[in-house]
């Protein structure tokens, strides 16, 4: 047994690691603290704690009255949940078929899926907008249709990743359970919902987290499809804020805090799954 003792290399390693951790955490703490200070106080000394005279809720009051934060949250959560749900359902069904059935075009279809990962959003967004405009979905006054116009391309953008992750997992499942279900008289649709879905839950969670966060954070698609204030989602609203109120630093700090804190809370409770979800596609290759 080695005795635990203080060593210089270890101290250096811990210092460096802590330094990097400080850079990832401190900016967030800094902005949250400053969101409780008046604008000019931020500019004077941003490191002071917002206590006593420094403390004010004015920024938040302004954020709630001037900005439609709740509306943007509602839009964001609606869009991302729908994207997440549709991706899971469609990718699940397609992966099941691609793994378990044998048919001529199987490899071609799988190639199509893999190649689908390569298209950057830049290369498809203009024709997609044109197409949706001609269907009367994009650029309308209707809330439901506007939401739909973002959801559709985001679903398409996430399907490839989801199918690759899910096929990898379903392939590793033993087929005996499905055979047993078949002997009991289940059809393939029942097999999918009663055998495959419950067994594939961990992978579904991965896909769900990835597509939800990706959609929630994606600004580019929103810049094209959500241009009116009442339909803006949260990232779009923040972007608008920089161009309209670029000098109200207190309001900006409050808005950033309002967007980051919910994510932070979710992250603290689900970090294991989130980290796995965000890196799964990469590790699988």
């Amino acid at each position: 047994m080695k005795k635990r003792k203080f060593s210089v290399p270890m101290a250096v390693i811990y210092t460096l690691l802590c330094f990097w951790a400080l850079t990832t955490v401190y900016p967030i703490i800094w902005v949250v603290l400053n969101s409780f200070k008046a604008k000019n106080k931020i500019l004077e000394n941003s490191f002071a704690l917002p206590m006593g005279e420094l403390f004010t809720l004015a920024n938040y009051r302004k954020a709630f009255t001037n900005l439609n934060i709740f509306g943007a949250y509602k839009n964001s959560i609606f869009i991302s949940s729908m994207v997440c749900a549709i991706v899971i359902l469609l990718a699940g069904l397609a992966s099941f078929a691609l793994v378990r059935y044998h048919f001529k075009l199987k490899n071609t279809l799988y190639m199509l899926v893999v190649a689908g990962m390569m298209f950057p959003a830049f290369a498809t967004v203009i024709p997609v907008y044109t197409m949706e405009a001609s269907w009367g979905i994009a650029g309308t006054k209707n809330w439901w249709l506007s939401m739909l116009s973002v959801i559709l391309p985001q679903v398409a953008g996430n399907l490839s990743f989801a199918i690759i992750v899910l096929t990898g997992y379903i392939r590793s499942l033993p087929i005996e359970l499905e055979e047993a279900a078949f002997m009991e008289g289940c059809g393939s649709i029942q097999i999918f919902f009663k055998v495959i879905v419950p067994l594939t839950k961990p992978s579904f969670a991965t896909v769900a987290i990835f597509s939800f966060l990706w959609s929630y954070n994606d600004l580019f698609t929103q810049m094209f499809f959500l241009r009116r204030p009442d339909i803006m989602a949260i990232t779009r609203l923040l972007n608008e804020l920089t161009s309209n109120e670029g000098t109200d630093y207190g309001l900006m700090a409050a808005a950033v805090s309002l967007v980051v804190i919910p994510v932070l809370i979710v992250y603290i409770f689900m970090q294991k799954y989130i980290i796995k979800g965000m890196t799964a596609g990469a590790v699988k290759g």
Binding site: M10, I13, L16, L17, W20, A21, T23, T24, V25, P27, I28, L43, N45, F47, L90, A91, L93, F96, A97, Y101, F103, L109, G116, F119, P120, A121, F122, A123, T124, I126, P127, Y129, T130, M131, A133, P153, A156, I163, E179, F182, G187, S188, L213, L219, F220, T235, L238, N239, T242, S243, Y249, A255, V256, V263, Y267, I274, I275, M278, T279, A282
Partner: protein, 295 residues
């Protein structure tokens, strides 16, 4: 038996059609339509082009002479190099360090990964405050350490640095997690054997860790390169419209600028085609340099 239960192929269409219709309608068709559109006259976003450009390749000749295209290509290449060495490099160093400590590895993982979860737009606003001229966090720090004049982080001289630092910083944790996973897959016995043979700690890293990590690092570099071409949110939030003096355009932000601000939609299509070609070329080069090896 396995093939028997799935002999009836009728449900197959029901399973496959929805997903593939989505991919064909919203990925494949638009992708090719975009190439056609880049050769047509499009008056405004949302309308189809009806006549061809005169000559049809005029947008592409414009690409070659457009000075902003040159700026954006240059900046994007710099961004690629920054992501490869900055993100993957720092991530590798951090991962090697975490591999050597006994306590707290999980905590560091959680802390390092955190920025990835936050939307890049929010981070853009945050870094706007941090790099504020009069006076944000950095300039306040510099004053505290006795610097007399403030640095204008958004001036031409510093703009690229100010834009790329947050982008680099945000994704270090992502590659960190991938590399740590790779490190954990290397068996302890190899290190023990080398230690018995008298290899020093650094030698063990160089002769065992680095070769065995080769494929993981390959994946990281490919992801970093393709990722650097997709960067949009943070630069557009911090430096909209290529400010200052159109010097901070990346290929992605310039494509958006031409489409939505200048409203030259078909030229935007041509720029998108250029982004795709750039992506293919760059990933070919990376693959040629860092060939995956079997050990």
């Amino acid at each position: 038996m396995g093939a028997n239960i799935y002999k009836n192929k009728k449900p197959l269409f029901l399973f496959l059609l929805p997903a593939f219709i989505f991919m064909i309608v919203f990925l494949y068709f638009p992708f090719f339509k975009n190439i056609v559109d880049s050769c047509m006259k499009i008056k405004q976003l949302g309308t189809s082009g009806e006549v061809w450009n005169e000559p049809w390749y005029s947008n592409y000749t414009k690409l070659l002479t457009d000075e902003n295209v040159r700026t954006s290509l240059k900046n994007t290449l710099i961004m690629t190099i920054v992501t490869i060495f900055g993100q993957v490099g720092i991530a590798l160093l951090l991962a090697l360090m975490v591999d050597n400590i006994k306590r707290g590895a999980k905590v560091f993982r959680t802390l390092f990964f955190f920025p990835i979860v936050v939307s890049a737009t929010a981070l853009g606003l945050l870094f706007n405050l941090i790099f504020l001229y009069d006076t944000g966090m950095i300039n306040q720090l510099l004053t505290m350490f006795g610097r007399q004049e403030l640095i204008d982080w958004k001036s031409e001289k510093w703009a690229l640095f100010t834009m790329m630092l947050p982008v680099m910083w945000q994704y270090v944790g992502f590659y960190f997690v991938i590399i740590v996973t790779g490190l954990n897959n290397i068996s302890e016995e190899l290190y023990e054997a080398a230690a018995i043979d008298g290899a020093t700690r650094l030698k063990r890293i160089w002769y065992i860790t680095v070769p065995l990590l080769h494929n993981v690092l390959c994946t990281c570099v490919v992801l970093a390169v393709t990722g650097s071409l997709k960067v949009f949110d943070l630069p557009w939030t911090m430096f909209p419209k290529g400010m200052p003096l159109k010097s901070t355009f990346l290929t992605g932000t310039y494509m958006y600028y031409q489409t939505m601000i200048v409203k030259d939609v078909d030229y935007g299509c041509a720029l998108a085609v250029m982004i795709v070609i750039l992506g293919v070329v760059l990933s070919r080069i990376v693959n040629a340099i860092f060939k995956e090896k079997d050990y």
